[in-house]
């Protein structure tokens, strides 16, 4: 095994360890948040018998101040998704035309190897 191969192996292992730590932090935080939420509901058990999900939903719908931000968040998320979809379709539409025109002037034109709609090539995903 050459020195460069050994270096590549070390690079792969170290970056994978960091990636694992990052994933552990990400999913660990989500699990911790869910667990704290679960404990909060558990705190009511036996003391307030009406602490049910139905009552939670009732509270959420009755208090418009609580519900409004969530409705806005959902609306913004849907709008962002539709906008993004439109942008990706537009990129794909212009891709071939741009490539064809550039090739007229530079026949050895190099490419970034992204997909037609400008997303990461599946082959490049580590």
């Amino acid at each position: 095994m050459s020195e460069e191969d050994r270096a590549a192996e070390r690079f792969f292992v170290i970056t994978k360890i960091f990636s694992l730590i990052e994933k552990a932090l990400k999913y660990g935080s989500i699990i911790a948040c869910s667990y704290i939420g679960y404990l909060t509901i558990g705190e009511l058990a036996g003391r307030e018998t009406d602490a049910t999900l139905a009552l939670f939903l009732d509270l959420a719908t009755k208090e418009k101040k609580t519900l409004l931000p969530w409705v806005l968040v959902l609306a913004c998320a849907i709008w962002a998704y539709v906008e993004r979809d439109l942008r990706l379709r537009k990129i794909a539409y212009f891709h071939d035309q741009n490539k064809k025109l550039e090739k007229i002037l530079d026949d050895k034109r190099s490419s970034s190897n992204l997909t037609k709609n400008g997303l990461t090539n599946p082959k490049d995903k580590l």
């Binding site: 270096a7 690079f11 990400k26 509901i41 490049d124």
Partner: protein, 181 residues
């Protein structure tokens, strides 16, 4: 604990979980696309510059700068500060290795205006990558938010030069690492 308190506690932690999902999901894609757009613009400007006859499409300098921009665009999804720091320390450095930066800045064979244009294109590409690395990491983003007021305060006490120097110091490290790609 009343049911109202429990409701708001659950809502708070649900929001925190959603924020984490957002920062590691759609936010990453957004930053990636925004930076790629900046790099595509730099590549297109370079193409137009060559098409106007300022530099040949076959020139080594043109090919190298375009190649670097293509690499930045291609691997933007995977580029983090960890990859750069680990990569620079793990891979052996050959004595003949010349960074993209030194190739252009020190090259006297190029016309002054062409050299400036190519250097600006590289600087633009590298600053876009620095933005990508900082904004895709919640920790670096948080550190920047905390550091900016401190830098402002220290610069207020020490004169305006300090802010420029500290910016140059922080950006300079990533700049020198990225210019070898």
């Amino acid at each position: 604990m009343t049911i109202e308190t429990a409701f708001y506690t659950v809502e708070f932690w649900f929001s925190v979980a959603l924020l984490i999902i957002f920062l590691y999901g759609p936010w990453q894609k957004f930053i990636e696309s925004a930076v790629r757009q900046k790099l595509f613009k730099a590549r297109d400007d370079l193409f137009v510059y060559a098409a106007e006859g300022n530099i040949s499409f076959d020139s080594e300098h043109y090919l190298r700068v375009r190649g670097s921009l293509n690499k930045f665009i291609r691997f933007a999804h995977a580029m983090t500060w960890v990859d750069i720091v680990v990569g620079r320390n793990v891979f052996p450095k050959s004595e003949s290795e010349t960074g993209l930066n030194s190739l252009l800045i020190g090259d006297e064979t190029l016309e002054c205006s062409v050299r400036d244009n190519l250097n600006n294109t590289i600087a633009l590409g590298i600053s876009a990558m620095i933005l990508l690395i900082v904004f895709r990491s919640p920790f670096l983003m948080l550190a920047s938010v905390c550091l900016i007021p401190i830098m402002k305060f220290v610069s207020f006490l020490n004169g305006k030069d300090y802010q420029a120097k500290s910016k140059k110091f922080v950006g300079g490290f990533l700049y020198s690492e990225l210019s070898h790609i």
